[in-house]
């Protein structure tokens, strides 16, 4: 008995040692092509074109030899075909290293592709085990994803990481792939992503900027929000960090532009909802405390009545901007990117059951009113412009 046990013990140890070396799924770093960002476009003949931005380890200078060695730190490759697996198969044939998606931080949909409909591709983002739900999704505004991925970015060695950092900072409108797919798969909310575009095209200062939002109707891109509308969308969705607004407080004259610029400190949104005649009615209130950043007017912000005036004007301006954004989203884009359906779903679940299948047809007709309350909390180090000529 003990002899059997001892033999068995040794046998087990040897077998386990043999099996746990992990040679089957061994992945050496220098056998992997690390995809940092990928883009999907639709070619003119209706095929899918996938572009990968792959980190090039030899192009990344080490700490010792840092500073413009002039080598490229990424390679960008594209191929087209019928579906994702076919295209990645083609891309793999161009590479000596295995394509690895585990570090992909950015996914970009080309405008044409997004307008055509994204269903044929998105399955792979949840099905493929290497895909991470923490990747950010963006849509291009004009141009293709391929162009974006070929655009250099000066601050980071790898442009894909640049986009990722912009999105993960609080200063942008970040949408992760799982949030996007969640909105896509639910009836009470429409998907929206940030929109990216190339600026200074053709010059040596060419780079990208993320200053718009792409709005989807079901699985198709239906239009874009302008930069000003994007600011309000960020406020609405609780990403109002460091947003800046400018308001005209007096008519422009020789000395002054007559504007006051503020930055949001704390912001929020409250939605009130009632159901009347089987239709929801929505009241939205946007509220924020702000600090003054610049004052290009005669007003003295330390004076209560001057400050009140700025607050009222600012509130009015925000209110009218929000109203025009709502009209744009409801009547033109017809997509519920605000999650108003979600609010109805939560507050009136039984009424929602009746309208959920036609929600996107009902939504454009839903009356929404907005009001804005803005308080100036800090005015900075000065009360009135300090450089102002003293008249007395």
């Amino acid at each position: 008995m003990t002899r059997i046990l001892r033999t068995f013990r040794f046998l087990v140890i040897f077998v386990i040692l043999g099996l746990t070396t992990g040679c089957w799924d061994r992945n050496e770093m220098d056998d992997l092509a690390l995809v940092m960002a990928s883009g999907i476009d639709l070619t003119e003949d209706g095929q899918l074109e996938i572009t990968l931005q792959i980190a090039l380890p030899t192009g990344i200078p080490s700490a010792v030899q840092s500073g413009g060695s002039g080598k490229k730190s990424v390679i960008v490759i594209s191929a087209s075909g019928k579906n994702t697996s076919e295209v990645t198969g083609k891309l793999q044939q161009q590479l000596s290293r295995a394509i690895f998606f585990g570090h992909r931080g950015v996914i970009i949909f080309g405008e044409q592709f997004a307008r055509h409909g994204i269903n044929q591709v998105v399955d792979t983002f949840t099905r493929f085990p290497e895909s991470r739900s923490n990747s950010y999704v963006l849509t291009t505004y004009g141009g293709t994803a391929k162009e974006i991925l070929n655009t250099p970015y000066q601050l980071e060695l790898i442009p894909g990481i640049g986009i990722n950092k912009i999105q993960s900072s609080k200063l942008s409108f970040p949408v992760k792939i799982d949030e996007f797919l969640n909105a896509l798969s639910s009836q009470d909310r429409s998907p929206v992503t940030a929109a990216i575009r190339v600026i200074n095209k053709g010059t040596d200062k060419e780079t990208f900027t993320i200053d718009r939002a792409a709005v989807y109707h079901r699985n198709q891109l239906s239009g874009y929000l302008s930069s000003d509308e994007l600011k309000l969308l960020r406020w609405w969705t609780g990403r109002g960090h460091h947003l800046r607004f400018t308001v005209q407080v007096e008519p422009e004259n020789e000395q002054y532009g007559g504007t006051v610029g503020v930055e949001l400190l704390q912001s929020g949104m409250k939605m009130h909802l009632v159901i009347k005649n089987d239709l929801p009615e929505i009241k939205v209130s946007l509220h924020a405390t702000v600090r003054a950043i610049d004052n290009d007017s005669k007003l003295d912000l330390s004076k209560v009545n001057h400050m009140k005036r700025v607050e009222t004007l600012l509130s009015k301006k925000i209110q009218s901007e929000a109203e025009s954004m709502l009209t744009h989203v409801q009547k033109v884009l017809k997509s519920d990117i605000f999650g108003i359906g979600e609010e109805v779903h939560i507050e009136y679940p039984y009424a929602w059951k009746k309208m959920k299948d036609e929600w996107l047809d009902i939504f454009p007709e839903v009356p929404v009113t907005v009001d804005a309350h803005i308080k100036i909390e800090r005015t900075g180090k000065t009360h009135s412009p300090a450089h102002k000529e003293k008249t007395d």
Binding site: R9, V12, P129, L181, E342, H345, P349
Partner: protein, 369 residues
């Protein structure tokens, strides 16, 4: 050589058998109740407590005797044998399924290229060794070490996920699913949490059989608590739209964890939970099968049966074609409609009723036996 179990060891064994696999395998089926899956888990917890109650009370009737011994006293020779066969079928089928689910998960989530035979063999060798060398006592000691680690890991995942919480995901409560949805969602977790039925077998090895019931209840309630919190967390962090279509929402939740910008990809932690749970559960099952079969066939040394059962389990585990067959079909065609009502609820109840009745009618005879 008589094996002995302490009460706390029974606690950890049942806790691990209940918890680890329920977390990983049954969140998806319970999500048919949508955002009310957590209510399903509470219902499932009720069913599991009932199962624990029946099992512990039935085991109390003849303390010190194994299930296979006293079942003859209660039901007579032939019906007793039939009932034993029903339990053996349960154990003989669940074990290859556990093994297959284990290798499926490892393959789907981690080692895409490794052949499943290698993954399974590794597990089988460890388990055979543990069972052969230690018996239930050895497994129980492993459980004592692994149990707290499992709880710690689950706690870690839950705490690290708190900054992904979206409170609104839980709303609206009840309206979307309704009674049928909630009850339907409760079946799968209830059937996994019902593993306290194996207490019928452990009871014989307890040093203090009377206290065993308490530890069993403790184990069931603790696991229900953790499953409940985890289900809530999955709903809060992932929402129900996407997670109901993934095989392992618990894993998806850990994939979303990102702390301070540099702690990412917690995937390794649920793997620890998973490996430890599968190890303990499989080892317990292997022991029960070998020991039970030995008593059933009157084989003197139960250890000899391991050499037969382990290879058979390995071959059986290769039969299912893919994840669907191993996980969903078995769960929905056998485990929920048959094993739960018959093996976990019906038969323990029958044993309890008839056993009580017999002891009252012939108290002396019962004492003799």
């Amino acid at each position: 050589m008589k094996m002995k179990l302490k009460g706390i060891q029974v606690f950890w064994i049942i806790l691990i058998m209940d918890l680890g696999m329920t977390l990983v395998m049954t969140v998806t089926p319970s999500l048919q109740a949508k955002q009310d899956a957590w209510i399903s888990v509470i219902v499932a917890g009720g069913i599991a407590t009932l199962i624990a109650l029946l099992a512990t009370q039935a085991a109390k009737l003849y303390p010190g005797q194994t299930f296979f011994e006293y079942i003859h006293l209660i039901l007579g020779k032939w019906i007793g044998k039939a009932v034993i066969v029903i339990y053996l079928v349960q154990w003989y089928t669940i074990t290859p399924i556990i093994l297959r689910q284990f290798s499926d998960l490892v393959q789907v989530m981690l080692l895409h290229g490794t052949p499943k035979e290698a993954v399974m063999l590794l597990m089988i060798f460890v388990i055979v060794y543990a069972t052969y060398a230690g018996g239930i006592e050895g497994i129980a000691r492993c459980g004592e070490v692994l149990g707290p680690i499992i709880l710690l890991m689950i706690g870690l995942v839950l705490i690290a996920s708190t900054n992904n919480i979206q409170w609104r995901n839980i709303l609206p409560v009840y309206a979307d699913s309704g009674m049928t949805g909630i009850l339907g969602g409760a079946l799968a977790p209830a059937s996994y949490l019902g593993h306290s039925v194996e207490y019928l077998m452990f009871a014989a090895f307890l040093t203090q059989p009377r206290k065993g019931a308490l530890y069993t209840f403790g184990a069931v309630l603790t696991s229900v608590f953790f499953v409940l919190i985890t289900t809530l967390m999955v709903i809060f962090t992932l929402g129900v739209n996407l997670s109901s279509n993934t095989w392992y929402p618990f894993f998806e939740m850990t994939k979303k964890i990102s702390l301070f910008g540099f702690i990412d990809n917690f995937d390794a932690i649920p793997v620890v939970i998973w490996l430890a749970s599968v190890f303990v559960k499989f080892a317990v099952m292997l022991f029960l099968m070998s020991y039970g079969t030995a008593q059933f066939l009157h084989v003197r040394n139960w250890r000899n049966l391991i050499w037969f059962i382990a290879p058979v389990m390995f071959v059986f585990a290769l039969i299912p074609q893919d994840v669907t067959e191993a996980t969903s079909n078995y769960l929905q065609r056998y485990w929920v409609p048959f094993a739960m009502p018959v093996n976990m609820l019906g038969l323990p109840l029958l044993l309890l009723v008839i056993g009580k009745w017999r002891q009252r009618k012939w108290p002396a005879a019962a004492d003799h036996a």
